[in-house]
């Protein structure tokens, strides 16, 4: 199949790769750009493990082709924070034990950031509703809810701009 060039700004860096037009964004991120923090959990766009930010919106990267995001700005989990300087969402997930196996976690955090973009003071119920697009098999969600709530508080405190990669 003839390959085409796709260029994106990902976590603040300009990156290009030649890909088949049918390549999913999620494989582009993982295999072409070697950013493996974004995961794949299904083949029907239900699990949300692959969620990333594209031009400021949370999307499931398995629902887009790489060619569709040519020229876009993407933020993945690698662009949130580092071990030394965690993003409030990461910090909150750590402090509230919002993860077990950690497989769904990058996607869940992205979805949660999307949620907080819309509503910085969500109730438990709003968080649970807002996480409709993700599936976690390990945690039973309770500590994910606590983590998102905690993250909202941290963000308000730190005046962290939601969803802006570092």
């Amino acid at each position: 199949m003839e390959e085409v060039n796709v260029t994106v700004t990902i976590n603040g860096k300009k990156r290009s790769a030649k890909v088949e037009p049918r390549m999913l964004l999620t494989h582009f991120i993982r295999d072409s750009l070697s950013l493996t923090g974004t995961h794949i959990g299904c083949d029907t766009s239900q699990c949300g493990s692959c969620s990333v930010m594209v031009d400021g919106h949370v999307v499931k990267s398995c629902t887009l082709l790489a060619v569709q995001v040519d020229g876009s700005e993407i933020i993945t989990v690698e662009g949130l924070g580092t071990v030394q300087n965690l993003h409030p969402m990461q910090k909150a997930f750590w402090e509230e034990h919002g993860l077990q196996c950690g497989y769904c976690t990058p996607g869940v955090m992205m979805a949660a950031i999307g949620l907080l973009q819309e509503n910085l003071e969500p109730s438990d119920e709003e968080i649970r509703e807002g996480l409709e697009g993700v599936i976690c098999r390990c945690t039973g969600y309770q500590f994910i809810v606590s983590a998102v709530k905690h993250a909202a508080a941290l963000m308000a405190e730190e005046k962290q701009v939601v969803g802006e990669g570092r």
Binding site: E20, Q90, G140
Partner: protein, 785 residues
């Protein structure tokens, strides 16, 4: 440093996982790596007449194509590892690819290796397989009938095994004052870790070493089994489980696919990667449960239970999986009396072959089913004699003073105090008040129910001699090595294999308290058969009880040796040395001391060691516990049924668990939440559905209801602590208690809510349609699907 055990400590493993620095199977990239895909049977039962790979061989990037025939004699059969003695067990041979006949939708037919991940999928479409359909057996009770189509021609009535334990003569049932009977269908579910299965093989032709990364909960079992299947020395087969995105039993099994990838990598002398797709996972990975359980419970009118007789007809799928046969027999059948002192018990289990994918252990493995039946039966019995279900439970509990308590099937429960968590849970609930409210709400036409599950669970596998006696093909002891580096930092090697539980943190807490060193100074190595000499992995809630026990003993050995060195340096006798909080001191002599780091250095430098003491500071322990451990507790659910829609709302969920010593309340609560979510999932939403033709109707997350965040209320958790005498830590398992307890609690609550309609049982899962129908027909339609 002391006081780490019992503290709410956030996990050491998290910063890595939170920043995208995890290392899962699909993250592995090797130079020259090829990609594998498996063409699977779309039919439940058929003869393979011919396979045409001509077009496929011409596709761009194709490297190799293997059929079952090609591999005959080259890869051994995939064995089951739990061969139940005295059950006339007939193990049908399972080959890595079907040779002339497919036996379930998802059965592997052709293995394709190609250069590119997408390209290899294209090739599957170019392969033509000519099938001749055969009649199918899908449901276990039908499959056992005379004239049912046979899954394996030489296995009569499709019966894989027939197992019995305990004896209850007819008169015990017939002549009892009260007998309740019920039949339960514990439907088939999919463990569904969010990471599917994967395998990556790499062969070194220079030294003949094969490395296999795979999504395994027990890499050493994989090594043991696959070394035989692939005919390679265990010393040349290295199995590594990298980060694993959840297991829940689904990654215990040694699968044909892993053998195929190992074989192909060796054959082609090039790395090969296989990543399972979700639909493939639904059809080809092991499922859980699928048992039809018929129960008779006898007792007196004043509420003393006297006998229980249970028959379990279990759907094993087309082949016996790694642990499959143990689940509806040992795990289930020896626990049918639950937390109760019922003097007589008998269980009879049929394991049945069908044209479906295999079943194996799924979170709780047999115990959720045994708990479900006994806890439902207790409620039915209570209703029959007009007694409060809590009172009936108390009346029949194994009493605190009877521990260690031997149940009617001969298992010895290590420790227990069943009233304790029950009382605590009732207090949290405010039971009396709630019953009054329930009455009032009923009068207003609202359907509210309260459901209990006062469970006990068998876990912490376990004594190896017992494992041998029950047909388990391996040991279940654990192995730990603690290596103290010259700097005083420590590496611990454990034979357990975590996949989300947080062993690195909980085990570090144990080591930190023992050796008096900070958590940051302790690193762990798991899940690599080349680094960890042996071990039996993580399942059956065994890691803390057995693996933690081994670590604890190894730490004692370190201290013992270090004390000798300290005594020598301080010119005193070993008996005078006290070790506390990382410091070796002479009792009563202030100032005379050596720190743990000092001894680490002197042991490793070995300039001046006492006589007979070898250099270095390293200790290994193999721990084979003398018994299983038996966590217990009380879960209570308050549920409301919406009359108009059949929707169920869980108003409250209270979980009071007693798992012995709680090492880390934070991760323990996490385990409880996750376990509950899976049990509630089974009760309310999940279900694998095969059509009568054996077609898988629930083959994706679009058809299989995975619980989501909005499905749950906030779970109220608490612990009581009744220590276990079986290991040094006093700890029991916690990974499966939630699942074990929750199914019955939910079901009891919903049946209680529907009591005004005279409903005594509802089949799982509790879909609104089912409930709505019950309400519409005034209860006459219960037990409908």
């Amino acid at each position: 440093m002391a006081g780490k055990v019992g503290a709410r400590i956030k996990r050491k493993e998290d910063p890595r996982l939170l920043t995208g620095n995890g290392y899962f199977s699909d993250d592995i990239q090797l130079p020259g790596m090829l990609h594998a895909a498996i063409l699977r049977s779309p039919h439940a039962h058929a003869l393979i007449k011919s396979i045409n790979i001509e077009k496929a061989l011409e596709a761009p990037g194709v490297v190799a194509i293997y059929t079952g025939k090609d591999l005959e004699g080259k890869i051994g059969r995939i064995p089951s590892s739990w061969l139940i003695p005295g059950s006339n067990l007939k193990e049908a041979p399972q080959y890595p690819l079907a040779i002339d006949r497919v036996r379930y939708v998802g059965d592997g037919v052709v293995l394709v290796i190609a250069e590119d991940r997408y390209g290899v999928r294209d090739v599957l479409d170019l392969i033509e397989v000519d099938y001749e359909f055969l009649p199918v057996s899908v449901r276990q009770k039908e499959a056992m009938q005379e004239n049912a189509p046979l899954v394996h021609d030489d296995i009569e009535n499709n019966i894989a095994f027939h197992w019995k334990a305990g004896e209850v003569p007819d008169e015990e049932i017939e002549e009892a004052e009260v007998v309740v009977r019920e039949s339960f269908n514990v439907q088939r579910v999919a463990p569904s870790p969010i990471e599917t299965r994967a395998a990556i093989g790499q062969y070194n032709p220079g030294n003949g070493e094969l490395t296999l990364w795979c999504t395994s909960q027990n890499p050493h079992i994989h090594r043991m089994v696959l070394s035989e299947v692939l005919d390679i020395s265990e010393a040349k087969l290295r199995v590594i489980a990298p980060d694993i995105g959840g297991g829940f039993g689904g990654k215990i099994g040694v699968y044909p696919d892993e053998a195929l990838i190992g074989y192909a990598a060796r054959d082609l002398k090039q790395p090969v990667k296989w990543i399972e797709e979700r639909n493939e996972h639904f059809s080809a990975a092991n499922h859980g449960r699928d048992e039809i359980i018929d129960v008779e419970l006898a007792g007196t009118r004043d509420g003393k239970l006297t006998a229980i007789r249970v028959k379990n007809t279990a759907n094993m799928g087309a082949y016996l999986s790694t642990f499959g046969p143990g689940v509806p027999t040992i795990d289930f059948g020896l626990m049918i009396t639950g937390a109760y002192d019922i003097p007589k018990a008998a269980c009879e289990t049929f394991g049945v072959y069908t044209n479906t994918t295999s079943t194996d252990a799924y979170r709780g493995a047999g115990k959720p089913e045994s708990t479900y039946q006994i806890e439902r039966m207790i409620d039915l019995f209570a209703r029959e004699i007009g007694m409060d279900p809590v009172e009936l439970r108390r009346k029949n509990f194994a009493k605190k003073e009877d521990f260690p308590f031997t149940n009617a099937q001969g298992l010895v429960y290590d420790s227990g105090d069943y009233e304790k968590p029950l009382n605590k849970a009732l207090e949290i609930l405010d039971y009396k008040k709630l019953r009054e409210e329930q009455e009032a709400l009923r009068n207003e036409g609202k359907l509210v129910g309260i459901g209990f599950s006062t469970y006990v669970e068998l876990c912490g596998f376990g004594p190896s001699a017992v494992a041998g006696a029950i047909g388990f093909q391996g040991g279940v002891w654990e192995n730990a090595t603690i290596r103290v580096h010259p700097s005083g930092k420590v590496t611990v090697f454990s034979g357990t294999s975590p996949h989300g539980q947080g062993h690195n943190t909980t085990f570090s807490q144990v080591v930190s308290d023992k050796l008096g060193i900070p958590l940051e100074d302790i690193e762990f190595v798991f899940s690599d058969t080349k680094a960890v000499s042996m071990g039996w992995g993580t399942y059956g809630s065994r890691s803390v009880a057995v693996g933690g026990g081994a670590i604890s003993i190894a730490a004692d050995r370190i201290i013992e040796k270090a004390k000798k060195i300290a005594a020598h340096e301080l010119e005193t006798s070993v008996e005078d040395i006290e070790f506390e909080d990382g410091v070796f001191k002479i009792s009563g002599v202030p100032g005379m001391e050596r720190k743990f780091v000092d001894i680490a250095k002197s042991a490793n430098y070995a300039w001046n060691l006492p006589e007979g003491v070898e250099p270095a500071l390293e200790a290994q322990a193999f721990f084979d516990p003398e018994n299983f451990v038996y966590p217990f507790g009380t879960h209570i659910v308050v549920a409301e049924v919406d009359k108009d829609t059949g929707q169920i709302e869980l108003k409250r969920y209270i979980a009071v668990d007693d798992v012995g010593r709680v090492i880390n309340p934070l991760t323990s609560e996490g385990q409880v939440h996750g376990g509950i979510a899976q049990g509630v999932g089974q009760a309310m939403w999940e279900g694998i559905v095969y059509s009568d033709q054996g077609q898988l109707l629930s083959g994706s997350f679009m058809d299989y209801t995975m619980p989501k965040a909005r499905f749950f209320p906030t779970i109220e958790t608490a612990f009581t602590e009744t220590l276990s005498p079986v290991n040094q830590l006093g700890a029991k398992g916690i990974g499966e208690t939630g699942t074990t307890a929750s199914i019955a609690a939910v079901m009891n609550a919903v049946v209680d809510a529907l009591q005004p309609y005279g409903v005594t049982d509802v089949e799982m899962p509790l879909t609104p349609e089912k409930i709505w129908n019950i309400i519409q027909t005034g209860g006459e339609n219960d037990d409908t699907i």
